[in-house]
């Protein structure tokens, strides 16, 4: 049965609020140490130590280290495998929408862009981020340094907040302005190689968005407008054949679940990749 009762404010914003809460909680856990001397989570998003025991390392940074010709050491490898397995289960780009602090910046830019009705947008191919990712690996191999970390806005911002900002805000501001006036959803959906890397994990990951009640769809377009990667919705919501799966299987989907929030017809829900 399709529920037609009006949804509450909470129901219309639940996943957005949960996402923001998660993003800020993770940041706050990193700040507990320097602010209050409680070291539950030490380090930063590049590599960290949980409760002085569990090592976590960003696999893309470690991959660049490997490309730079460096034999990687044990805690970092275990940490990277742990992170890899985690996102393999919950969804590759869950990192983007539930953890990454730059997501808050680019979502803010997107919101303001809509408010100011800024429609001009340079077209950048979505595949650009994959090429940038490969370029970062090649440059790491050639220079022997972890190349993307010289400019990565994600770790710049997060390390800045936890260890000291320096001029890192310049890079954050640049990303904000790029998304605001240059290209719609420019950074996260077109350029960021970190997102591209997690998107590769996302091609095979377990937890998925599912357009389960797609027959209730009224073609209002709300989900397409709110989705940072609208092309992922089409095959699941409007399939070529009626019996095609309603699971969104595209690696670009960030599992942000904003589609659940905005859909008055309650078409979307979470599921596994098997439906």
């Amino acid at each position: 049965m399709i529920d037609t009762t009006e949804r509450s404010l909470w129901q219309r914003n639940k996943w957005l609020l949960l996402r923001r809460t998660t993003q800020f909680t993770i940041l706050f856990l990193f700040l507990l140490g320097p602010w209050f001397g409680v070291w539950w989570l030490k380090g930063n998003l590049a590599s960290s130590l949980v409760l002085d025991k569990i090592s976590l390392t960003d696999p893309f940074i470690l991959l660049q280290s490997l490309a730079s010709g460096h034999a990687v050491a044990q805690p970092a490898v275990i940490g990277a495998v742990t992170i890899f397995v985690f996102y393999f289960l919950v969804g590759g780009r869950v990192y983007c929408s539930w953890v990454c602090p730059i997501n808050v910046v680019t979502d803010a830019a997107h919101w303001l862009r809509n408010r100011l009705k800024l429609n001009l947008s340079w077209s950048v191919k979505k595949s650009t981020r994959v090429w940038i990712m490969l370029t970062a690996l090649v440059v790491s191999a050639v220079t022997g340094a972890i190349a993307w970390e010289a400019v990565n806005p994600i770790t710049m911002l997060q390390r800045g907040l936890v260890f000291g900002m320096g001029l890192a805000w310049v890079i954050v501001l640049a990303v904000f302005l790029f998304d605001l006036v240059v290209t719609r959803r420019g950074w996260c959906s077109h350029l960021c190689p970190v997102g591209a890397f997690y998107g590769l994990i996302g091609k095979r990951s377990l937890v998925r968005m599912n357009a389960a009640e797609r027959t209730a769809c009224t073609d209002c377009g709300d989900c397409f407008r709110v989705c940072p990667e609208p092309h992922v919705i089409m095959p699941a919501l409007k399939p070529a054949h009626d019996n095609d799966a309603s699971v969104i299987l595209h690696g670009d989907c960030t599992n942000c679940a904003r589609c659940i929030d905005v859909c008055e017809e309650r078409v979307f829900r979470f599921s596994t990749r098997f439906g």
Binding site: S48, T155, G160
Partner: protein
């Protein structure tokens, strides 16, 4: 659907054109990124890497810039380079004149490193090679100039009597004592530089390859 099918059907000329476009753009990006990453990896002499740090050209490929060494440094000696400073962003360093390395016996910074940017091969802190102290200001050093019977650097040195000795020198009728660094014992901890009483330190820790009197050790 139809859109993407149309895009996928390229003739050879378009295909080659697109390949050239991608390769070209990424080459430009790669060159910019590479030269920036390379340039930002040139560390100034006053910034000293933590104990156990592997050779600088390998360090920027091994260090993931997590700051765990900084967190475990009990003396707040280590800092993470901020973006815009002259040290590669996110990498650890210290300024000896501000807070030198206290040479902890258990070397917590090395233990904290999740990669081998700080090498676990360093087990005795006295084998650390962060740099080497050099009497950079013999013209300002109180002991050399005879302003005072100063031996602040000698007293500050944690490897006292081995890494720095006060050698008696004579110029004409004047006898003075010159702080003399013995590079094979000096770890580059920077206690002498911090302890020096002249306005600008007269003794400074330099990366070993810049310390002339030890040029024989440069590989």
């Amino acid at each position: 659907m139809h859109m993407s099918e149309k895009h996928n059907k390229l003739n050879r000329r378009q295909f080659i054109g697109q390949c050239a476009h991608t390769v070209g753009s990424m080459s430009i990006l790669g060159l910019l990124l590479g030269s920036y990453a390379r340039q930002s990896a040139s560390t100034p002499a006053r910034a000293i890497r933590p104990p156990g740090a592997i050779a600088e050209e390998d360090f920027t490929g091994a260090c993931v810039r997590c700051g765990l060494c900084v967190r475990d440094c009990p003396y707040d000696t280590l800092k993470l380079a901020e973006f815009g400073s002259d040290v590669a962003t996110g990498t650890p360093y210290f300024i000896a004149r501000d807070i030198p390395c206290e040479m902890c016996e258990d070397i917590p910074c090395v233990a904290a490193c999740p990669t081998d940017a700080l090498s676990k091969d360093l087990t005795d802190i006295r084998d650390a090679d962060m740099g080497v102290a050099v009497l950079t200001g013999p013209d300002t050093c109180y002991s050399v100039t005879g302003v005072a019977h100063c031996r602040a650097c000698y007293v500050a040195c944690p490897i006292q009597g081995e890494a720095i000795t006060m050698e008696q020198k004579r110029v004409g009728n004047r006898i003075y004592f010159e702080p003399t660094v013995h590079a094979q014992h000096c770890t580059g901890c920077g206690k002498c530089e911090q302890g020096c009483v002249t306005e600008e330190a007269s003794i400074k820790v330099l990366p070993r390859h810049l310390a002339k009197h030890d040029a024989g050790n440069v590989v």
